[in-house]
Symmetry: C2
Subunit: 306 residues, 2 copies
């Protein structure tokens, strides 16, 4: 990565996007953020374009950028199953037009935020590697997987250099619990506010939590990567149940949780732990933020930011 190369961050107003933009700016890299609304407060002053990917010409958006980070999601895993055709009908074609633009505008590297928690479906093994079968149990996961397949197609046909990161459950500063994403953010906010905590199912669902700083580091590692892999897991490799996360969050905040139990959701796989050794082997990346320290820092950030 050279400081002279301009990066475009799509979905820059979201959790990962905000953290990535802050990191790039901190490194002195020129950044354009693209999001649906105005930039979040943390990104005031950044070059910003408001819009939707399925409107306008993606060539104009992409032009002049060496690197494109695609963090645009499409709803949430659970709600995606209410209208399962929509994600392929709407979101995927917009992504393919974006890839066309990236190739015509000479984008040097495209980094795609795929989903380690949904593309595999119900895994037979834990931790799961990138070569495991992929049978998503949500249309959201299918949508992510289809984009990965188009990345491989565009590489084969046109040499477009893309990397897909199958990211585990990221947590950390700037995660917005109001949109239903992020157990850690939701738990910490509710505990700190003295509000009751909602738990779906029996609390035994196991996920792989990875601090956002480690996710951002993985994205940056993709820019210089020249190994054989094109799809990489990004996780801690450690599984934690909802009950364990709750206990840790309660201990760190010093609060006693009041629980509200909700019915289990259909798109939740029981266990998801990622084996990220391919990324480690090919780029030297490793998760550096220790769980309890990351949790405590996130709680502090929530208190500080109100």
């Amino acid at each position: 990565m050279s400081v002279g190369d301009r990066s475009l961050v799509l979905g820059a107003g979201g959790f990962i996007g905000t953290n990535l933009c802050l990191k790039l700016r901190g490194l002195g890299v020129a950044v354009t953020g693209f999001g649906r609304g105005a930039p979040p407060a943390a990104l005031v002053g950044i070059d910003w374009i408001s819009g939707r990917l399925d409107e306008g010409r993606p060539e104009r958006l992409v032009a002049g950028h060496a690197h494109v980070f695609d963090l645009i999601g499409a709803g949430l895993p659970n709600s995606s199953n209410d209208n399962p055709a929509q994600i392929v009908a709407d979101a995927v074609p917009a992504k393919v037009r974006l890839l066309e633009a990236c190739r015509s505008e000479g984008v040097r590297r495209y980094v795609f935020a795929s989903s380690g928690g949904t593309v595999y479906g119900i895994t037979g093994t834990a931790p799961v590697s990138e070569d495991a079968p992929t049978e998503p149990i949500s249309a959201y996961g299918i949508g992510k997987l289809v984009v990965e397949k188009y990345l491989a197609l565009y590489r084969h046909l046109y040499g477009l250099e893309a990397r897909a990161l199958r990211i585990a459950n990221a947590y950390g500063p700037h995660q917005d619990a109001r949109h239903g994403q992020g157990l850690v953010a939701a738990l910490l906010r509710r505990l700190l506010a003295g509000e009751p905590v909602e738990i779906w199912g029996d609390g035994r669902i196991v996920r792989d939590y990875i601090h956002i700083d480690d996710v951002v580091a993985a994205m940056l590692a993709c820019l210089d990567h020249d190994g054989p892999g094109r799809v990489f897991n990004v996780g801690s490799g450690i599984g934690r149940s909802v009950g364990e996360v709750l206990a840790d969050a309660a201990r760190i905040t010093g609060r006693t949780p009041r629980l509200v139990r909700r019915e289990a959701r259909g798109a939740d796989v029981p266990v998801n732990i990622l084996d990220s050794s391919r990324l480690a082997r090919e780029t030297g990346w490793a998760p550096l933020v220790e769980w309890e320290a990351g949790l405590a820092a996130t709680a502090e950030w929530i208190v500080r930011s109100g």
Copy 2:
């Protein structure tokens, strides 16, 4: 399969569909054919509905059928890359609406004709098994793979019983060489007509040729299948180069080919041979039609049908 169960064959006017309808009729099974135009001459007298899957209400089409055979293609592998977003934008949502209809109408089994020649992409091994990585090099192959993923999703969410067959290069009677599909049909027709034969690339492309009777037998085997597999290869397990097929076709027809060489096509993988042992193990299916006998019978059928 009970004779009282009515089968719906989607894409019944095509090569596989025509053969499947004839077989079902021969077995005394009630069949509805669905296709874009009028039924082909071979299927005159069959119950027939003309239409397009993306028009009208699929519930009305599906109602009253115990089994649905989905043989509807979406163009050809090579031309699919000219407009790579189209297949997911148009064909896949229509398929998902069809799956919705199958579940609401209580369809007992859905058999999907996937594509053994395109879903794997450039395989590292031959023969390739169902567990191999899937990296299609055509949007056509991505489209087939996405439907497979939706079948798995509908099974998980709603218990819809579907089987996907990744079919190798089928050949035999009723294959229409005019639409660019089917090397065997094209070679035999041109040789028998004394016309020059077009060869793409250097003639070293290797494919797995399977007689249509064996493909139809695999589809019928899916109706009673209750093993663990949901995706099955259907091939002979034997690879033959274009040059070998040409030599065999020339010998069987007694004609000397005049060759016209064309440039290799981007969506053609170099080698594709399928390992169909999963289907054999779980259903007792085996390819029964020997290559030279199948080739000779196909040539005779072409001569007889004009």
